[in-house]
Amino acid sequence: MSSLLRVNWGPQHPITGHLRFILDLDGDIVVNAIPEIGYTHRGIEKLAENRNYLQVVPLVERVCNIDSFNVSLGYVMAVEELMGVKVPERAQFIRTIMAELGRIMSHLYWFAIFGVAAGLFTLIMWPIADRELFIDLAEMVVGSRVTYSYFTPGGVFADLPDEFDKRAAKTLAYFERRIGEYEVIFLHNKLYQLRTMHVGVLDSRKAIELAVAGPSARGSGIRMDVRSDEPYAAYDQLDFEVPVEDSGDACARAKIRLREMKESVLLVRQALNKLPEGPIRVRVPPILPREDAYSRVECGRGEFGIHVVGQGSDRPYRLKISTPSFRNMSALPHMLKGARLADLPIIYHSMDIWPLDVDR
């Protein structure tokens, strides 16, 4: 063992985020990578037991603040299932629109970091600047910019403003053009292909064994997406394609996310066209019944599951959250074995792991 160099990679490091890897290096090759999580543990599951179920919405959003629409949608759906509430049609469509905007924002953020992981600093600026437009859209509807607390049990708390259609159409048209530019500077960039192709390969059998979730699993050729497998909100009334790539390398996972952003643009357009009239919220009972409910949604990072147990008061008895980043994290030690040190940030960020999401 003496010929191995043990390196501490993170948590104070330019690219790891709040995570730590203990690496054993043999020259340039990673022999062993031990991830160490927990630097951002906030005890959200425990905190939720001391709040009433409405106060839990802003709390749960902090699980994955970069994708707060989708995460809060999961919690809200579980509470509704517990109470047996039927959400009005218009609210379902508005939820779908906002969830897809959230997915685009989440993917843009991933894109920025993934670009930097390979040393291209232009990519941290362009997607973040484009994300600003979507944040503005969300701000127009909700009033806040990152954590929204927009979905409430029974519906959404405010209707879409009048000029939302026009503004959204403009932003989406601009963004579709931008995705084309990203493909040119990123997917068709020879050096980028050199860095990402055949790097961090995860074949589909191994991906199933390691329970990889979301776009990372779809990059390994597994066709799974909660939106189409078990439709929620208004997804059953909309047409969309679930992108799947077979090669299972970092480049495939990147392609999946770019294609998903395109798909989300189409979804938002469709939902805006089909948007029915009607109420946006129904009244819900003030207490959670003494039962339990589980709901799952497709977050930007993959399948997000949440289990809520009621105790006959306004507070949940127990909240259990299963996050996609945690599942993808468990695949990392396997993927990093035998990789080169320079590929480490690329493999790590191609899985789109958000440390807050891992630790909860």
Binding site: L5, V7, N8, H13, P14, I15, L25, D28, G115, V116, A117, A118, G119, L120, F121, T122, I124, M125, W126, A129, I185, N189, L191, Y192, L194, R195, R340, L341, A342, D343, L344, P345
Partner: protein, 324 residues
């Protein structure tokens, strides 16, 4: 009188004062231009025009920072290394003629001298990585040494065709030979190979492997803070400037140009254009991996450089017969 002349040249032009001013503007240009590529604004408020004094402000800030020496590092060497780095980085300038008159060190073998002192710098990098006694620095230093193995051979091969074309190793003579046709037109392949390997030599994107921030923090400079880091930063840009001056001298016709500007101004304009190109490359490309760089250098650039030498020899024979 000769001694006085020499002193003026070393201290003012084309020596210390000139290269520091030029480096200053290049640092500013890189920050401003890269910011525009990234859809940012870049330095704006310090100084009257476009944040021109921002670099000065940052250097003053660095002066005020504490210099931390790691307890396990070799203290004397650790403190000396940044100064050695700046010294070694600016050595090649002595033989670069900005004009027929303005050259510090005249020799018939000045090209060899430049190649020699230019390759000293990776040794500084490797040594700094070693004495810092930090694992990231250590890996960065080793990578710098590996990189040297990668780019050195194609680089020297590509310069061989320059020597053949000008039948001289004296840079002044090489530039004079380009009064009619620049060597970039006679040996375009060599120019391309030299450009790529000089990117690797200056540790510029896409070959900034020894200081890859995402993998090894700041590579061999990880442990440096304050002004000692600032000096490394200075050395980095001095090398960028000198590298671009060298490309201008060897391939882009040096001081020759239409007589609307003085010769040395032509020299600077051309080298600034090279620098702009290098900065734009940084805005558009990710970093390659160490093994990929070695692949590119040994499997693509070296054979191409040999082909280029043969082609240049043939060309030289043709030029010799028709007496051009």
């Amino acid at each position: 009188m000769d001694l006085f002349n020499l002193l003026v040249k070393v201290a003012v032009f084309p020596g210390a004062a000139f290269i520091s001013t030029y480096t200053y503007f290049v640092i500013w240009l890189e920050r401003k231009l890269l910011a525009r590529v990234m859809l940012r604004i870049g330095p704006l408020h310090v100084g009257k025009y476009a944040g021109i004094l921002q670099v000065m402000a940052d250097f003053i800030k660095l002066l005020g920072k504490e210099t931390i020496v790691p307890s396990n590092a070799d203290r004397a060497l650790f403190m000396a290394m940044p100064i050695i780095a700046v010294g070694i980085a600016s050595l090649p300038l002595a033989a670069i003629p900005l004009d027929e008159y303005w050259v510090i060190f005249r020799s018939d073998y000045s090209l060899l001298y430049i190649l020699g002192v230019f390759s000293l710098y990776p040794i500084v990098a490797a040594l700094t990585g070693w004495i810092s006694n930090n694992k990231y620095s250590f890996i960065g230093g080793l990578r710098a040494a590996y990189q040297l193995v990668g780019y050195e051979v194609p680089m020297h091969f590509s310069l061989a065709s320059v020597a053949i074309l000008s039948s001289s190793l004296n840079i002044v003579e090489i530039i004079k030979k380009q009064s009619n046709v620049w060597f970039v037109f006679l040996a375009p392949l060599s120019c391309l190979i030299y450009f790529i390997s000089s990117l690797a030599e200056q540790e510029r994107t896409p070959f900034d492997i020894p200081e890859a921030e995402q993998e090894i923090v700041l590579g061999w400079m990880t442990e440096y803070t304050g002004m000692s880091f600032g000096l490394f930063y200075l050395a980095y840009y001095v090398r960028l400037c000198i590298g671009s001056l060298l490309i201008t001298a060897l391939f882009l016709g040096g001081w020759y140009g239409p007589p609307i500007m003085p010769p040395f101004a032509w020299f600077l304009v051309k080298s600034a254009a090279v620098i702009v190109f290098i900065i734009l490359i940084r805005g558009a490309f990710p970093r390659v991996r160490m093994d990929q760089l070695l692949n590119i250098a040994w499997r693509i650039l070296t054979p191409l450089a040999i082909i280029s030498i043969l082609a240049t020899m043939a060309l030289q024979a043709v030029i010799g017969t028709i007496g051009w």
